[in-house]
Symmetry: C2
Subunit: 322 residues, 2 copies
């Protein structure tokens, strides 16, 4: 009985090349492939089925990249992602990237080696140049290129909605407060929707932004209160920004919602036991998670994806701060 070495010797190629031909993996020149196939026939070589199955075995694991699982928004997202993966008999591998590119790279490398079937998640690195075009990746909140499908909430409409709700609650000088990442993120559309809606309604609004991440909360809010004493409405880019604003405002004797109405974004509070219960633009976290995984499954199966970016509708969830 001949071995893979016999085949390699007869074809005049390395054992690895024979393996690539057998498993249909990796690049092999057509002429080389022909030589290997002829040697296989000549020697009546039967590939070791065990080894072959190992090679061919498709991974049933999907990697989830998150800045940190220790955050209510991300843990809710991970919860539903795991649930949807489980429905398809896939397992979830969790990576807290902490924004470290080298940690994310490790998973991309696993993807290239077929150790994971696909990657989903939120990355703050410019991974676009690192990935092959046909790799199954679905990004949340960041659109890289046509090659990487993006799922996000309708941030622009969320911004417009926040502006209208602040005005409805009595605000005449509303402000957007947030931070800006270096790379474009879909979340920046929250500001644009807010500003555009203010303009179309003829309302004077303030935009207050600092580079992301904001490391000095004290300085951030001090400058905001110092520069913009006259604002009477705040739309914060996240619920956490809103909660911090309210706490700082309280220290200065500013009452919420009497003096300033506040709306956040995310909807991280899933019960009403801690206060204030924020008025917020609620992301459809479950739908985002399930759609992300369904699109990933489509990609793994080689199906065509019709859109680059899927923007899911948001809702206003009234709380105690408007």
């Amino acid at each position: 009985m001949s071995s893979v070495k016999d085949v390699a010797q007869l074809a005049g190629v390395a054992v690895g090349t024979v393996s690539r031909v057998i498993n249909n993996s990796g690049a092999v020149k057509p002429a080389t492939r022909k030589k290997v196939e002829e040697a296989i026939r000549a020697l009546q070589y039967v590939p070791n089925e065990v080894a072959r199955n190992f090679k061919m075995q498709k991974s049933k694991t999907v990697a989830l990249l998150l800045p940190s699982i220790w955050h209510p928004f991300f843990s809710e997202l991970a919860y539903y992602i795991e649930d949807e993966l489980d429905l398809g008999s896939f397992k979830l591998m969790l990576c807290n990237s902490g924004g470290r590119p080298e940690k994310e790279m490790y998973y991309l490398d696993m993807l290239q080696q077929n150790k994971v079937a696909g990657i989903v998640g939120i990355t703050y690195n410019d991974i676009e140049d690192m990935v092959r075009t046909d790799i199954p990746i679905v990004s949340i909140d960041r659109h890289f290129s046509k090659r990487i499908t993006c799922v996000t909430s309708d941030n622009y409409e969320g911004g417009r909605l926040a502006l209208r709700e602040l005005v409805k609650a009595g605000a005449r000088k509303p402000a957007f407060i947030g931070s800006r990442t270096q790379l474009f993120s879909e979340t920046m559309n929250r500001r644009d929707g807010f500003v555009d809606e203010a303009e179309s309604l003829g309302i004077d609004c303030v935009v207050y932004e600092k580079p992301d991440p904001v490391t000095d909360d004290e300085a951030y809010y001090d400058e905001l209160f110092h520069k913009h004493r006259d604002i009477d409405g705040v739309f914060a880019i996240t619920d956490m920004f809103a909660a911090k604003y309210i706490e700082k405002a309280k220290g200065l004797g500013i009452r919420v919602p009497e003096d300033v109405r506040v709306i956040g974004y995310d909807g991280i509070q899933d019960h009403a036991y801690f206060h204030p219960v924020l008025s917020t633009i609620r992301q459809p976290v479950e739908e985002m998670a399930r759609m992300t995984i369904r699109l990933l499954f489509d990609k793994i199966e080689g199906k065509e994806i019709s859109q680059d970016t899927y923007r899911l509708p948001v809702t206003f969830r009234p709380g105690e701060t408007t």
Copy 2:
């Protein structure tokens, strides 16, 4: 060059048996092993290194079983578990068991097949009978047997500490409120420490418990307020129980901490932006997570573990409710 089939034929065994001998995996009778080894020598058989490496490749993945990642205590735990695994170049596979035994079984099965190197986490099933004695498992909060090492916080001391802090804050009729799982959990020691400390100080205390999970919050708290009108201190088995108590009490005009002092257990609030900031017995989550993984690594390496249960010290974290 001989193949594994030649070896099997000569030894008069199945191919799978040869594979088990080569890879030192699974049970093979000594006599059978000897026959296979003789055949290997006779045929000067060299195992296919590629296939062998696949087989021998130790999994570098650890499964984490949790009832749900969408909970601040579990997501903090998962965060540090992933971090400690990463230090050892291990990957984390996440399973929200939702208390479903069949989902947990799947991971135990993967462990038996060497697809994961070990399992850690919180399970509400009686997994003891399902596992081989030498499988690397570290359980959090539940002690099964000598075979499964358990890491937990010092629940008993936490209960004692809570009683003393309530008394220090002025309570004369303190109550423990919680729920009881069917299987013993280390968390039940919270009550015992509380009750024992009350007894040793000669203080009259109340114990209010219902079967876990409590599905009807309304009925649970209604009965508590109805039966125990005179309590002026509450130690709740978790922060969530404490938060719900406070909200219900507020609805009845009971002020916290003026009328009733309240202490929770966990320390799920990692910032002071939502109120009340609970006075609580803080679990050393990071230390618990890192110790769990270090013990698991010891087990994977076949080292002896000196203790059955590791109880890590807790601290009282004062908040706005005492």
